[in-house]
């Protein structure tokens, strides 16, 4: 046997021995649960989750939580890429209908079934509904965001408007917006950037008019055929195309840009969830005490707002589902949930927290919770949600802003596209 072949053989045997050795060592190591969520990058949430992780690891020796930080717009891409490779983080926060439909999530019904009735009772059907797909539980509710209308109180007063009497109708809102639009700042930012937030805000306007952009079982899109929906879209987008009340560059504006503009005093108002306030105050602490929160103006007695529920799910490839479930429960414990309300402005979803002093005595939280009692929950229960919310509807909004005269034709095209996607074509 030549020297070369002997050398290769010896190297291969050594490598094999090393692998076996490492494998043995790895088995004795901790269970590591990767946790991916966009919220981990939020400055106001960081101390809370770090404390929760440390406490959980102290209580569960042998289990380590490894956070995976990801920018908001890359969360889905990163998750899908890893899920396709079978190495998705055990714990993820992604839209449940789309992720479950694609087989990326593990059903948690068995884990849920083992819980005592006292634990199950603290979660409302509506809250759990956000984590269900085709009857199975794929995500436990973590927190919610309820969309309200937020104003810069100083700008309201400077415009000669009464902060105690905010707009309740669209006509009043338009009047306020015209007065709040000055050479120094615009009235609002119209979101048309390529993220789901664009769709959330648009839907909040549609629902505030009693619109129904989808049929009941989400197999048909009615953006162009439901009169109330068309009216709402024309009014909302008309704030830019007709009345010129919005900050420039709508097609590039998302949640982050909107909150920055508000924090920097470039816009007088924003349609945002309560968590937007925490970000604004983080960016500009001088705004503390200068922010007004009101119910979004309505144009119909059947008006609703939008509530988005963020869930924490277990990936289909997770090898330690019980430990992952234990961490999900731990994150939702009252201590951390209350801190999330105070520091990160996330709406609590546990029934037993509503009477906790930090929640009960906070007027702003109570105002948002009252709004949330009459809200449509996002994501909508369709597997096509990710696609229609971050691409189809966004593109239609962008096209309408470019060609407002063609709004009816654009909405008709949108219906065709969205209906195909809802029907999985």
């Amino acid at each position: 046997m030549s020297t070369t072949i002997k050398t290769i053989a010896r190297t291969a045997v050594s490598a094999l021995a090393l692998c076996i050795g490492f494998g043995g060592v790895a088995k004795a190591a901790d269970i590591v649960l990767q946790w991916q969520a966009t919220a981990l990058s939020e400055a106001q949430y960081e101390p809370i989750w770090k404390a929760a992780v440390a406490a959980f690891e102290a209580k569960h020796p042998g289990v380590k939580i490894e956070p995976v930080l990801v920018p908001r717009k890359d969360n889905w891409t990163k998750f899908v890429t890893s899920a396709q490779a079978g190495i998705a983080p055990c714990l993820v926060s992604v839209p449940v209908p789309t992720a479950a439909f694609n087989g990326y999530l593990m059903a948690m019904d068995d884990l849920w079934a083992k819980e005592p009735d006292s634990y199950k009772a603290i979660w409302s059907t509506e809250a759990l509904g956000a984590g269900r797909f085709e009857g199975k539980l794929y995500g436990m509710p973590h927190y919610a965001g309820i969309y309200g209308e937020i104003y810069n109180a100083d700008m309201v007063k400077a415009a000669g408007l009464d902060p105690e009497n905010p707009p309740k109708t669209w006509a009043e809102y338009l009047d306020w917006s015209k007065k709040l639009n000055t050479p120094e700042h615009n009235a609002l930012a119209l979101l048309a950037g390529p993220t789901e937030t664009t769709t959330r805000v648009l839907l909040s306007w549609i629902y505030s008019n009693g619109g129904k952009p989808f049929n009941d079982d989400f197999t048909e899109s009615r953006f162009s055929t439901d009169p109330r929906t068309v009216e709402a879209i024309k009014f909302y987008l008309g704030l830019e195309t007709e009345h010129k009340l919005t900050s420039p560059g709508s097609a590039a504006l998302n949640y982050a840009e909107q909150t920055v503009l508000f924090a920097q005093g470039k816009i007088a108002s924003m349609r945002n969830a309560y968590w937007g306030l925490a970000k604004v105050l983080g960016d500009n602490p001088a705004m503390k005490g200068k922010i007004m929160v009101t119910v979004p103006p309505a144009n119909s007695p059947a008006a609703k707002t939008v509530a988005t529920v963020t869930t924490t799910s277990i990936s289909a490839n997770c090898k330690n589902p019980q430990e992952a479930w234990d961490f999900i429960k731990f994150l939702n414990e009252p201590d951390y949930a209350v801190q999330m309300v105070s520091a990160a402005n996330w709406m609590p979803l546990r029934n037993d927290l509503l009477n906790v002093p930090e929640v009960a005595n906070d007027k702003v939280v109570q105002a948002f919770l009252a709004m949330g009692a009459n809200a449509v929950t996002i994501p909508l229960p369709t597997p096509a949600w990710t696609q229609i919310s971050s691409k189809d509807i966004v593109e239609a909004v962008q096209r309408i802003l470019q060609e407002p005269a063609r709004i009816d034709a654009i909405l008709a095209d949108l219906d065709k596209t969205v209906t195909d996607h809802l029907q999985d074509k």
Binding site: T4, K73, W76, T77, V80, A83, Q84, T98, A99, F101, N102, G103, Y104, A192, P194, S247, P248, G249, S250, A251, A252, L253, L261, K266, A316, T386, Q387, S390, K391, V394, E395, Q398, R399, Q402, H421, D424
Partner: protein, 304 residues
């Protein structure tokens, strides 16, 4: 003749063993090419024959390709790709040649100026694109501030929110980024032109323009063709700058084929369709790659 009874008859065994040594040296490269190119490519071809929804897939044959050719999405994206590539390559070559001619004439601080011009190429594309996003911000960006202050614009533009301006913006950034590479190539070519040709031209009374036309460009002809072919191959594959700056929007105005692949795969959850677009893009690139290989065949430069 002296007889050496200990010497074995030569059978060419040594040569065959040396040939195997050649394969041993090639081995790692072959493994790398298989692992990084051939296997993923084969997987993409197979995937393009399936309708993939997440972890579920159904064999659909050529349906993905039929859908590709019968919907406007692919053709719109191809149009954007062709326009983007044509404009960017033209300016890469024109500006690259101009800068190379300039640098070739510099008598002082040549190295420092070269490094300065190379800076856009040294910066990671996504980082450079992100910086440009900030600079082009309609409210806070320095570009609007400078243009309005200089009186060129009466008010700031939403560079990345208007379809036409967004396409122009990403082209400008790509030209900014891609020109140094062409400049480097052509500078090397310029420095290889024999100086006596210029001396002879001057003795014949040639002007600077005539020197460029009758001496410089003919000597650079082969390199210009090679550089432009390579540049087309690089530019048509570009993803990072556009993905960071616009994501293909607004309204698909900047959605070149690589961005269409990404959006189809991740926004639409349609990996099969995305793979089909990828295979089509591969076909386009292969055409230019074959042209490049033909141009750079040994002896081709001497023929020209």
């Amino acid at each position: 003749m002296t007889h050496h009874p200990q010497t074995r008859a030569w059978r060419g065994i040594g040569l065959r063993r040396e040939r195997w040594h050649g394969y041993y040296f090639l081995g790692p490269s072959i493994v790398l090419i298989l692992a990084l190119i051939a296997i993923p490519l084969g997987h993409a071809v197979v995937t393009s024959l399936y309708r993939v929804r997440g972890l579920r897939s159904d064999f659909v044959g050529l349906d993905n390709y039929v859908r590709l050719f019968t919907r406007s999405e692919f053709w719109d994206s191809l149009q954007v790709s062709i326009l983007f590539t044509a404009v960017c390559v033209f300016f890469h070559m024109a500006l690259g040649l101009g800068l190379a001619l300039l640098l070739n004439r510099l008598a002082f601080a040549r190295t420092a100026v070269r490094i300065g011009f190379l800076a856009p190429w040294i910066v990671a594309p996504s980082i450079g694109a992100l910086i440009w996003v900030w600079m082009l911000d309609p409210q806070f960006g320095v570009v609007n501030h400078l243009l309005v202050s200089a009186g060129i614009l009466s008010e700031g533009k939403a560079w990345l929110a208007d379809p036409t301006l967004a396409l122009v913006s990403v082209m400008v950034v790509d030209i900014w980024r891609g020109t140094p590479f062409v400049m480097l190539l052509l500078l090397a070519g310029l420095q290889g032109i024999p100086k006596d040709q210029y001396e002879a031209a001057r003795m014949d009374g040639a002007t600077a323009w005539q020197e460029l036309r009758y001496v410089t460009l003919p000597n650079l002809r082969y390199l210009l063709v090679v550089a432009s072919t390579l540049d087309i191959i690089y530019t048509i594959r570009h993803f990072d700058i556009i993905a960071v700056m616009t994501g293909g929007g607004p309204t698909g105005a900047t959605e070149v084929l690589p961005v269409l692949i990404y959006n189809t795969a991740f926004s639409q959850n349609a990996f099969g369709r995305a793979s089909a677009v990828g295979i089509m893009l591969l076909g386009i690139i292969l055409i230019f790659s074959m042209a490049y290989l033909k141009l750079t065949k040994p002896g081709k430069a001497r023929e020209d």
